[in-house]
């Protein structure tokens, strides 16, 4: 046999083998196929979300394909066009827009195919409600409200002990980000009527480095007034803020009491008492809940609840070792497994 013929035979066999094991072919044996559009796995929270959604999809017998974008709506729009142009439509689309407003066109295009769309992570707005069959994800308001209640509790304890000073510095998401208004309003509602008073709100950006930079500038601005409490819109931002406060000579837990949310910061800060507490928002839960909602919809043709939130319990130094939550896959998870920052031992 000539080398040419051998090569053709090899290509033919490889092609058949490849087709046999392709996702499209194996989809016929599964409970359904899902395509998820979301952010990059390189981001800690989304990385865990992707692990959760893939593991739960496998557990429930779904085939899933995940398209990651680098927090870029134009890139996500292109991915949507590629999937639609390929012509092989899944049974359900999962839609985590990079920018809910700018991505409305792509959502509309997905819905026009007739394939049901589940929106995740960012609450539906008036414009996109018509294109989705439901929402699964975190509750920014509950998370921020719980943080507010925790800070109230800490303030009350401080007052009872004869402490003075209740000025609050907020380290926020960018003010243009959708979750900002929901979070800050819920937090303000929670602390309303207490001695706590927000004297500064800085939105340097996401992450620890920006938390540090924003806090450092605000310390320079508010030092004379006094900073006694810090609210971090998420723990990564707060972790940077705590570093800046410590560098400026504040003793965390004594001079300043810090409360965060999301549980994507640093476990050791809570253990050491430098951070009073946080409210959990688990990416693992979010991925699992999305698959649960897809399963419910495919089985019954509708969702029992249009809006479905992941749980947001408070976590403090006292409860860190005892808090455990059942996942939507039925397993029991510890806080370490559910959080997404520097939480691994």
């Amino acid at each position: 046999m000539s080398i040419g013929k051998l090569f053709i035979k090899f290509v033919a066999i490889a092609g058949v083998a490849l087709f046999s094991f392709s996702p499209a072919h194996s989809a016929s044996h599964s409970k359904g196929s899902i395509v998820s559009f979301n952010g990059p796995a390189g981001e800690a929270y989304i990385g865990r979300f992707i692990k959760g959604i893939k593991a739960t999809a496998e557990l429930k017998g779904f085939d899933i394909k995940v398209y990651e974008n680098q927090f870029n709506q134009a890139e996500q729009d292109q991915q949507v066009q590629q999937v639609l142009a390929a012509g092989q439509l899944p049974d359900v689309f999962i839609w985590w827009p990079s920018d809910a407003v700018a991505g409305l066109g792509s959502l509309r295009a997905l819905a026009k195919t007739g394939v049901p769309v589940l929106k995740i992570n960012q609450l539906p707005n008036e414009q996109d409600k018509q294109y989705i069959f439901g929402y699964a994800g975190p509750d920014d308001r509950l998370r921020a409200r719980n943080a507010g209640y925790m800070m109230r509790e800490a303030a009350a304890a401080k007052k009872a002990a004869g402490g003075e000073g209740f000025n609050v510095l907020a380290l926020s998401y960018p003010h243009s980000y959708g979750g900002y208004d929901l979070s800050i309003n819920a937090f303000k509602e929670a602390i309303a009527g207490s001695d706590l008073k927000i004297i500064g709100d800085v939105d340097e950006g996401f992450g620890q480095a920006n938390g540090y930079k924003g806090a450092a500038k605000m310390i320079a601005k508010l030092k004379d007034q006094g900073i006694h409490f810090v609210y971090g819109m998420d723990d990564a931002i707060l972790t940077g803020g705590i570093k800046a406060l410590e560098e400026a000579g504040y003793k965390m837990g004594e001079d300043v009491i810090a409360v965060g949310t999301v549980c994507n910061g640093d476990k050791q800060l809570i253990e050491e008492g430098k951070q009073f507490g946080t409210t959990l928002q688990s990416p693992l839960h979010e991925g699992q809940l999305a698959i649960k909602m897809v399963e419910e919809y495919l089985n019954t043709g509708k969702l029992e609840n249009y809006i479905n939130f992941t749980p947001n319990p408070s976590v403090t130094k006292d409860t860190i070792e005892t808090t455990a939550l059942r996942g939507f896959d039925g397993k029991l998870y510890t806080v370490e497994e559910l959080c997404s920052g520097a939480w691994a031992d």
Partner: protein, 341 residues
């Protein structure tokens, strides 16, 4: 005394302002004047701007981007444009350092381990550029490889290590009231400037950057120069990665993608810093001091805006505007200087 020399001696000596106007175009002077007025007004009216504490905050804020910009300046001055892989080098290096720390190797060994990656990244990119590769294309490709390695190595997860640890002195320690990262920035800025001004290596950087053919004629090939400057830039990136990890006791591959400034991308911030300093993109003109001051300038504008109570949108706009503005002013000033020559 001759009759001709007498009236010349009677001419009044021009003032500094007059000299400035004579040497540079009126447009440049007007732009500069507007800029100075706006800048000084912003400084004076910003609450608590003119305090020692805030001054330290500004320098500390500029430190990490500034150190990377100093490294990149060597590449730019040598006529090799930019390394588009600055943040990706840092991404791989921060994973390497945190992995070492988490494995209990201690600061020194983790530092050396990280620097091995920086050297490999710098030397390989420099060699490819040195044999004639386009710096933009080479470093764009390298960026993907370096980031991909970091993501694969860390499985996209946060690598953390518990305090107390041997790197805390660098991340959160201070010397004479200044954070050690600020001290490192100042020392690196001084060393880099001395390296450029006082050594034959520094003179070669300028020579090859200004005229590659002349450099070749005098026996100075860009091949070795590209390797040296890319290595310096990579080592600076690695140092920033180590300092940042030491501060937060953790690492993640995307720390330098999303965490530095409202504009997000650290490589772009570093390039902007080099340009704001007035360094020539074509090489041969500029200094690391200019880049250091560029970093402090950007940090100052941002700081002033925060103290005035602006949120991120107007701040990004203002910083962007200032960058464009200063690049235009430097370009006009340089053109004026050249036409005078």
């Amino acid at each position: 005394m001759s009759p001709i020399s007498e009236p010349i001696n009677q001419l009044p000596k021009p003032s500094i302002l007059e000299k400035l106007i004579q040497r540079h175009s009126k447009l440049a002077i007007t732009l500069l004047a507007i800029f100075i007025v706006v800048f000084v007004y912003g400084m004076v009216t910003a609450p608590n701007f003119l305090t020692l504490f805030n001054f330290k905050t500004i320098i500390r804020d500029a430190a990490l981007v500034g150190i990377m910009a100093i490294g990149l300046t060597f590449v730019t001055l040598s006529g090799n444009f930019f390394l588009l892989s600055m943040k990706e080098t840092a991404a791989l290096c921060i994973i390497a350092f945190a992995t070492g720390m988490a494995s209990g190797w201690g600061f020194e060994l983790s530092f050396l381990f990280t620097m091995v990656f920086a050297l490999i990244a710098g030397i390989s990119q420099g060699a490819l550029i040195g044999i004639g590769g386009n710096p933009i294309v080479v470093t764009l490709g390298a960026a993907g490889v370096l980031y991909g390695l970091g993501a694969y190595w860390s499985d996209n997860l946060v690598v953390s290590y518990r305090r107390p640890h041997g790197a805390e002195w660098l991340g959160t320690g201070s010397f004479l009231g200044l954070p050690n990262i600020t001290v490192a920035f100042i020392l690196i800025a001084i060393s880099a400037e001395l390296l450029l001004r006082k050594t034959s290596f520094g003179r070669q950087v300028y020579l090859i950057g200004a005229n590659r053919a002349a450099g070749r004629a005098t026996g100075h090939e860009n091949f070795w120069m590209a390797i040296k400057v890319c290595t310096i830039a990579s080592v600076c990136s690695a140092f920033v990665a180590i300092a940042f990890s030491a501060q937060v006791s953790s690492a993640q591959v995307n720390y330098f993608s999303s965490e530095f400034g409202s504009s997000g991308d650290m490589t772009i911030m570093v390039i902007a810093t080099v340009m704001v300093g007035g360094n020539s993109i074509m090489g041969g003109f500029g200094s690391t001091l200019r880049s250091s001051l560029g970093a402090v300038f950007i940090s100052t504008v941002d700081n002033m805006m925060v103290l005035h109570g602006f949120n991120s949108g107007p701040r990004v706009f203002a910083v962007g505007l200032m960058i464009v503005f200063s690049i235009i002013v430097f370009a006009i000033l340089r053109r004026g200087s050249r036409s005078e020559e």
